[in-house]
């Protein structure tokens, strides 16, 4: 283990073993992140208030989902506003398999992940030549097509009435009587995806993602296959998102297309990652930890007085943060640390 300050040194960031840094840096696990994640675990163990635990479950689940989104959006540069489709595919697949065929969701989630991966791969292949806003809009359109299809394919999805999972506790069916197992599951989901994200950042594959994101022609010129890189990144991201979908279904026990496969949800994944810090492992975690509880809080405080006011504030915050802190919370932390650690003439760093 080597300890790094925020300022880059000479080779300790790239190498074997775990490297530790103080502030968030790509490819390293930072002390800040460890503290934050530890706090999550502690909070999970300590807090008993039902409502609070419910918020924690949503927060951790959304943290994991944002991490999943980030693999495609932040690392590979494939900004998708249709990820709710993968979320929905995961949720519906495991639920349909459970309700119709008695398949335990533990297995169903694999099926959902596989299906979503195929969908993601298909989408990216079909949109292979599109860049920038055209790609984004295509993902949006694909998400909407999925939603409408789910809404109308009543025989499969129950249409707008949705699907309901009977609240009969059974560990095999991933239905639990108390909140704790759910909390453990989603916390595990988020932690696992965090570790996976860091592993990707440090791996050859991760570097390929960054290369294709930053300059596709440059990446091709050094032998990276851009199409494969993009397609695989989206497929991986989709699969991981689908798993989150299954967890969601098992906790809330009710699905319907309008709420599950909505652009709002897609935007949330993207927004949480962006506000927390795109392209870093800690970013989506920070984003979720701040945004989910905050919006719950605002909604609780303000919806009595004026419905929608909390969202006005939320929207304004989004505008301000994205314009003035484009690297999100992670980036702000990293900058703050480098200013503290090197007061005079801090060198310009790569994000």
């Amino acid at each position: 283990m080597t300890l790094l300050t925020g300022a880059p040194a000479d080779g300790k960031g790239i190498g074997k073993g775990i490297s530790l840094s103080v502030a968030p840096r790509r490819g390293t696990v930072s002390i800040v992140e460890i503290v934050v994640l530890a706090a999550c675990v502690v909070a999970a163990l300590a807090i008993t208030n039902r409502h609070a635990v419910d918020i924690m479950i949503r927060t951790f689940l959304w943290g994991g989902l944002a991490l999943a989104w980030n693999i495609a959006g932040g690392y590979a540069g494939l900004i998708s506003f249709g990820h709710a489709a993968f979320f929905g595919i995961g949720a519906y697949t495991s639920t349909i398999l459970l309700l119709g065929y008695g398949v335990p969701p533990w297995i169903g989630l694999l099926a959902g992940a596989l299906l979503a991966a195929c969908a993601g791969a298909l989408l990216t292949t079909v949109c292979a030549r599109l860049r920038g806003p055209f790609f984004i809009l295509s993902t949006l359109a694909a998400g909407e097509v999925t939603r409408i299809a789910a809404l109308n394919w009543r025989s499969l999805t129950g249409g707008s009435e949705g699907l309901e999972i009977p609240a009969i506790p059974s560990a095999a069916d991933m239905v639990f009587g108390s909140q704790w197992p759910y909390l453990a599951l989603v916390l595990g989901y988020m932690l696992l995806l965090f570790v996976l994200s860091v592993a990707i950042e440090r791996s050859r594959y991760g570097y390929h993602l960054f290369a294709v994101r930053d300059d596709e022609d440059g990446a091709s010129a050094i032998g990276i296959n851009p199409r494969f890189t993009r397609v695989s990144a989206m497929a991986l991201s989709a699969a991981l998102t689908a798993i989150g979908g299954t967890l969601f279904a098992q906790y809330f026990l009710y699905l319907d297309p309008t709420h599950i496969i909505s652009p709002d949800i897609s935007f949330e994944f993207a927004l949480i990652s962006a506000l927390g810090g795109l392209g870093t492992a800690g970013g989506p975690v920070f984003g979720a930890l701040i945004i989910v509880p905050l919006s719950e809080l605002l909604r609780g405080l303000l919806s009595q007085s004026a419905s929608g006011l909390h969202l006005v504030i939320y929207g304004t915050v989004v505008i301000i943060v994205i314009l003035y802190f484009p690297s999100g919370i992670s980036g702000a932390l990293a900058r703050a640390w480098s200013l503290l650690a090197r007061p005079a003439g801090a060198r310009k760093k790569a994000v």
């Binding site: 949109c127 860049r131 055209f134 359109a141 929207g315």
Partner: protein, 295 residues
């Protein structure tokens, strides 16, 4: 046979209205090369403004355009300066999120201030459809269509003949070259954004007689607008018009022959098909979609 004719004609007219809604967007998209996620909310604002003017001052939504267009122009200036300009040379993601934030703010401000109730204006001739031969068409639909044609033609002339129009076309094709030719591109961005917003203002006025307004009305239309823009090609007036007509037809026919619910899905499928086979649209520049954003 009459049914088909009715569908076709009303589809075309509806398409004209979609076109007007999209014309501002295609200019903005073409010149600034950004996705404005709040476009639907600008439309919503226009519709509410028209509503307010009609109820305060009287008259109809069409006359209200005289007030709504300047209002939207001014709003466009402000929105541009606050949410778009700071993000212009940064990764396009930032503009996307900033306009998304703007969209959330606008939707919810409308909710807070105006409540979720539907609002509309009284119809022009007591609501009875006109009868033109075997067809029954609402007057507002026909008027909207005619205005849309007129505006499209006027804009086409403007783009071809005036200096500003040529400057816009140049910037759509190559921003850097335009700058080198002495075009004040930053000012052009501002004017185009505000001008496009004013056009949305007009669209809102002609749509209000046909649709009620409510805080999230923009969501219904923004995606249609983007489909039209993409189909027609970024920056092309004739493309936006023809794209609008296509989408109007698709919607009209699919709602009748398939199912109304699926109607929405159809234009998304059209969008995806266009993206796959001809991402530059009917009249767009070749290769525009593949370059995406100026790097």
């Amino acid at each position: 046979m009459d049914a088909v004719l009715q569908l076709l004609v009303s589809g075309v007219m509806l398409g004209g209205i979609y076109a007007l809604m999209s014309i501002g967007l295609t200019l903005i998209f073409g010149v600034l090369k950004i996705v404005n996620f709040a476009h639907g909310e600008f439309l919503m604002l226009a519709m509410y403004a028209a509503c307010a003017i009609v109820s305060l001052v009287g008259g109809n939504a069409y006359i209200a355009a005289l007030g709504v267009m300047p209002l939207l122009f001014a709003f466009g200036v402000v929105a541009y300066l606050v949410t778009v300009r700071p993000a212009i040379d940064k990764p396009h993601l930032i503009v996307v999120f900033a306009t998304m934030g703007l969209s959330i703010v606008m939707q919810n401000l409308a909710l807070v201030l105006m409540s979720a109730d539907l609002r509309d204006v009284p119809p022009l001739v007591g609501g009875t459809p006109l009868q033109i031969g075997p067809l029954y068409l609402r007057l507002e639909l026909v008027l909207g269509f005619l205005i849309s044609i007129a505006v499209t033609l006027a804009l086409m002339v403007f783009l071809k003949r005036s200096y500003l129009g040529k400057a816009i076309r140049a910037t759509v094709q190559d921003r850097d070259a335009a700058m080198l030719m002495g075009i004040n591109v930053p000012r052009l961005f501002l004017l185009t954004f505000a001008g496009g917003s004013a056009l949305v203002g007009l669209a809102g006025c002609i749509m209000l007689p046909l649709y009620s307004t409510f805080p999230t009305v923009g969501l219904n239309f923004v995606l249609i607008a983007y489909v039209v823009v993409v189909l027609g090609g970024m920056g092309s007036m004739e493309g936006a018009f023809l794209g609008g007509i296509c989408i109007g037809l698709v919607q009209s026919l699919s709602s009748y022959y398939v199912a109304p619910a699926y109607g929405q899905m159809f234009y998304f499928l059209v969008f995806l098909l266009v993206m796959i086979f001809r991402p530059d649209g009917l009249f767009g520049q070749r290769g525009a979609a593949m370059v995406g954003i100026n790097e």
